[in-house]
């Protein structure tokens, strides 16, 4: 084997080893239909975190800077990091006003370490709040 081949092979092996790490941040174009939810309350399940019952709480959490996610119908969560050209993802006034809405969005999804992040390129539809959970669960939190 020529002398220069061995270092070349070592570099090749290293590159191949590191490639899966790079693929973890690959971007996938997707369309998601689901509800805008407050990530903290939904993940911790400390109160009923869906629909009209949770609107008030979701507004407080969004104002407080807790990440907003889209919950797809199959339970998958997508953390919203950008909406079209707007990259303010902490206390974004436009996002605060549509908490608990059922939306259809197109975007670029990046999955890393068990979290799916979504960069919304287009809000295709907004049906408003259609899941009237307050009829069963009251107003979250504390019923008032």
């Amino acid at each position: 084997m020529p002398r220069f081949v061995r270092p070349f092979l070592v570099v090749l092996v290293l590159v191949c080893t590191l490639l899966p790490e790079a693929r973890a941040d690959a971007v996938k174009r997707i369309r998601v239909e689901g509800e805008l939810i407050d990530t903290w309350c939904y993940v911790t399940e400390i109160m009923y975190a869906r629909g009209s019952a949770h609107f008030q709480c979701a507004v407080w959490c969004a104002v407080g800077g807790i990440p907003v996610s889209v919950r797809a119908d199959d339970g998958t969560l997508y953390v919203v990091l950008r909406v079209e050209d707007d990259s303010q993802n902490v206390s974004n006034p436009a996002m605060i006003r549509i908490q608990s809405h059922r939306v259809t969005v197109d975007g670029d999804m990046i999955e890393r370490d068990g979290v799916k992040y979504l960069l919304v390129t287009q809000v295709a539809d907004d049906k408003g709040i259609v899941d009237l959970t307050h009829e069963k669960f009251g107003i979250q939190p504390w019923g008032m």
Partner: protein, 176 residues
């Protein structure tokens, strides 16, 4: 020999748990785990897409923690009610920080709740209540108790759409 090893591990874990260095409070949440570690503070959009404004966006961007093994953790919540951890982590943008809090594993995702933090090597911990401090300054008031009921933006949205988000629906008062 195996028994002795298990016993030793159990003793070490018990001592670690009793030590003041593990002071994060549990919330009784399914999948929670007390987690104190050092990590690098990153702007998520910068880390994931290379979109990197100055100073991690100055408080307008969600921040995360990159651990030494390269794992990215989404910092979702601070020690202030209904508030995220961005303002607590912001002073450490691009730097290492030692954090103490809860890792919460849910089938949908893994998140981090920040309870306190400090510069590596510092002796004093800082409680993760930067949102409350900032809210007091912005609202020129001395306390942030029940800030969510007194916040102008929150009250504007809830005043416009109602507590259930639908102005056409007025829910009955709660049963006492």
């Amino acid at each position: 020999m195996g028994r002795f090893r298990s016993l030793a591990v159990a003793v070490v874990l018990c001592l670690s748990a009793a030590s003041p260095s593990f002071a994060a409070q549990k919330w009784g949440i399914d999948g929670e785990m007390v987690a104190q570690f050092e990590a690098k503070v990153v702007d998520l959009l910068c880390e994931l897409r290379g979109d990197c404004p100055k100073a991690c966006g100055g408080g307008k961007r969600q921040l995360g923690l990159v651990r030494d093994d390269g794992t990215l953790l989404l910092a979702v919540k601070s020690n202030t009610l209904f508030a995220g951890a961005t303002l607590d982590l912001l002073p450490y943008c691009g730097q290492r920080v030692e954090v103490d809090g809860l890792i919460i594993s849910h089938p949908a995702m893994v998140i981090y709740m920040l309870q306190r933090l400090r510069k590596p090597g510092a002796t004093e911990w800082i409680r993760a209540t930067a949102f409350a401090e900032d809210w007091k300054q912005r609202n020129k008031t001395e306390d942030a108790k029940r800030w969510f009921r007194r916040d102008g933006m929150a009250n504007d949205v809830i005043g416009t759409f109602g507590k259930v988000g639908r102005p056409d629906i007025v829910p009955p008062p709660p049963v006492q």
